[in-house]
């Protein structure tokens, strides 16, 4: 067995990547990030409306939170239903900093990350020694988040007697208006979250977490330091969630314990990751883009019952039709999925039919889901018929 030193093990995706393929994903992502970063400055000249900046920020927020959550829960199988604990820790760092003077946004973000990391370390240290079953862990964290909400409500030192306001924060001039600052920092945190998830997934830590997810005791006896790995992943996920929470406090400006530690954030990140796919860093990104652009378009329609109905139906359809989540199903039909998505997106953007960029993005994703949901048997017949041109 010749000992030749080569790269770290590949990402455990189904098709073994060759070198060329290996660099396309990061390449494409880099171009996307640069494009997104340029958006605010090009916004006027391209004639896009300024709302895209705010939509962009909130989209980055959800991508960050869903990716951070998945980094621990998706990879390790311990579904955390109290992610709002870490998000809320970040929010309340900014809120408490803002009690005296307008806080510096970077101090707030780092403080939020630190606070969330400390809270995660505490919770992790206590819980992981107890060996809670996965579903008990899930609902234990759910109850813990709500208990912390009630605690913050009643402890004036943290909760400020129930209400804290964040109106202004100080930040470097070159970031532009508050909305642009939120956009840029939101994009930065989203990139950090996604890159962290991708790096973890491709590293020894990722392999260890996947092993923990499938059979923790076997993983432990094969040498995986399960306690240490669960702690590292949880603290990392919490830090990113806390940082993003600290930034989001500026957007909410009215900070209340029930809303911050309530089920909104905790349940939404789980839905986004489960819908998008838990086993790959791209899963929560796709889930976040789909769920948020859907809710954004639907709030625009002003028909509340319809939007609730559509969101509920979509959840059922996707979790039933695409068992492992959109990304996993996409891996079985990568070309067809991508062509549908890009095709529909371009058509809608050109014709302006979908009601602007966000509508086009949403319908392109929904079209891709339809293509992916079609069962294999039908798909095979469909593809063959189109190739050979005559019906079977």
């Amino acid at each position: 067995m010749t000992a030749t030193q080569t790269r770290a093990p590949e990402a455990p995706t189904r098709p073994t990547d060759n070198a060329a393929r290996r660099w396309t994903t990061p390449g494409v992502l880099l171009v996307l990030v640069i494009g997104l970063a340029a958006l605010p400055t090009l916004q006027e000249s391209l004639g896009l409306d300024a709302y895209l900046i705010v939509f962009g920020y909130t989209l980055f927020f959800w991508v960050t939170q869903a990716s951070a959550w998945n980094l621990f829960s998706g990879f390790s199988g311990y579904l955390n239903f109290g992610h709002a604990i870490f998000y809320g820790a970040g929010v309340y760092v900014t809120a408490n900093l803002a009690r005296e003077s307008d806080p510096n946004i970077f101090v707030a973000i780092l403080g939020g990350a630190l606070a969330a990391a400390v809270v995660a370390a505490l919770i992790g240290y206590v819980i992981f020694h107890r060996g809670l079953a996965h579903e008990i862990f899930a609902l234990f964290t759910f109850a813990l988040a709500i208990a912390i909400g009630v605690l913050v409500r009643n402890v004036d030192a943290i909760g400020g007697g129930g209400v804290l306001m964040v109106s202004m924060v100080t930040y470097p001039e070159f970031l532009g208006s508050v909305n642009e600052m939120l956009y840029y920092l939101g994009l930065l945190l989203a990139v950090v979250a996604v890159v962290a998830a991708a790096l973890v997934q491709r590293s020894r830590l990722g392999l260890g977490l996947f092993a923990i997810r499938d059979d923790e005791r076997v993983a432990e006896t094969m040498g995986v330091p399960t306690f240490r790995y669960k702690m590292i992943a949880l603290v990392l996920a919490a830090a990113i969630g806390g940082a993003s929470g600290a930034l989001n406090a500026v957007m909410i400006s009215f900070i209340e314990p029930e809303a911050t530690f309530g089920i909104d954030v905790s349940v939404m990140v789980v839905l986004m990751a489960l819908v998008g796919g838990r086993r790959h860093w791209a899963g929560p990104v796709i889930g976040a883009v789909l769920m948020f652009s859907l809710s954004d378009r639907l709030t625009g329609l002003g028909m509340t019952e319809l939007s609730q109905l559509l969101t509920g139906l979509l959840l059922v359809v996707v979790i039933v039709g695409l068992k492992g989540g959109i990304h996993e199903r996409w891996q079985r039909r990568p070309r067809a999925g991508l062509i549908t998505f890009l095709g529909v997106l371009l058509v809608l953007l050109v014709t302006g039919l979908g009601g602007g960029f966000i509508g086009a993005l949403l319908f392109a994703l929904l079209a891709m889901i339809v293509v992916l949901v079609v069962p294999d048997a039908w798909w095979a017949r469909l593809v063959n018929r189109s190739r050979e041109g005559q019906p079977r």
Partner: protein, 293 residues
């Protein structure tokens, strides 16, 4: 001293409601491997039907059980059919049932609007129908609720632990393949469990309709306490549910009486967090110990 006993009574009566509400959720989770968030939608629908029949059509609120129980059972059976056909893992059922909850909330707010609704006092005799023993008072409707809770938990305990069907159910949950080999029809038994959950969620829903104001968004108020009762009581363990529901309700009641009502939920959830830290499977053994593979 009198306050202690009155707080004890109030806690017991509240425990009855918590137990009835949590029983179905616990059985579905423990025996049917489904974390059913639509459960809270079923309860809300039952509350609204009770409100509608008593306020608009003048029926006695308790009599509306004749309508809400069949609805609850039908919805639970329908869900069980859907879940058994669709083959989702535990967390897949959670997403699907959360979706169904949203659909139910949309339907409810379509018909009853977003407005706060409550049965007016003249249509709701149960609000003033109170049994008083010395200085202590007990609303009769909550006593009936407690009786229903004891009956439901008792029956499901007897069914699971002492009846042949119960033995078959537990066997088929613990080792489905082996059970099927012995000819146990798991689906039929699954429907039996779903029916029991349907009855209990409907009774709890109607009780909530009688006692509280309703709005389409109020379904989720009951999620934390139900999770606490189910986790504390051990999955699908009817006796565990009954005792943990009472324990949590008493803790809340005493906190409200002697400390401050705003801390009640903190005390209840605090107990849960502490107990789970020392006994991860809850105070009582789950009915079916998922064997270490």
């Amino acid at each position: 001293m009198q306050q202690w006993i009155q707080a004890l009574i109030t806690g017991l009566l509240l425990g009855g409601l918590y137990a009835t509400l949590s029983l179905g959720f616990s059985l579905t989770w423990g025996l049917l491997r489904t974390i059913n968030f639509a459960h809270f939608g079923f309860a809300l629908l039952a509350s609204y039907v009770t409100y509608e029949l008593s306020t608009v059509h003048g029926f006695d609120p308790l009599l509306t059980l004749v309508a809400t129980v069949p609805i609850g059972v039908a919805l639970s059976l329908g869900l069980q059919w859907f879940v058994s056909k669709v083959k989702l893992d535990m967390f897949g059922t959670l997403v699907a049932t959360f979706g169904l909850l949203l659909v139910l909330e949309a339907a409810i707010s379509r018909y009853w609007l977003q407005d706060l609704r409550r049965i007016p006092t003249e249509n709701n005799p149960w609000l003033s129908n109170v049994l008083s023993v010395g200085p202590y008072t007990m609303p009769v409707v909550q006593i009936l609720g407690l009786v229903a809770a004891v009956a439901l938990c008792g029956f499901s305990w007897w069914l699971l632990q002492r009846s042949r069907a119960g033995y078959a159910i537990r066997a088929s949950v613990e080792n489905p393949t082996m059970a099927r080999a012995f000819g146990i029809d798991a689906t039929r038994l699954g429907y039996l469990i779903a029916a029991i959950s349907g009855v209990s969620v409907a009774i709890a829903g109607s009780m909530i309709g009688i006692l509280y104001a309703l709005s389409p968004a109020s379904a989720l108020i009951w999620v934390p306490v139900t999770l606490a009762v189910v986790l504390l009581g051990g999955l699908a363990n009817p006796v565990g549910v009954a005792i943990s529901a009472t324990a949590l309700a008493l803790a809340e009641s005493f906190t409200r009486q002697f400390a401050d009502p705003s801390l009640a939920q903190l005390v209840a959830l605090g107990i849960l967090v502490i107990v789970l830290l020392f006994k991860p499977s809850g105070l009582f053994r789950p009915t079916v110990e998922v064997s270490e593979r």
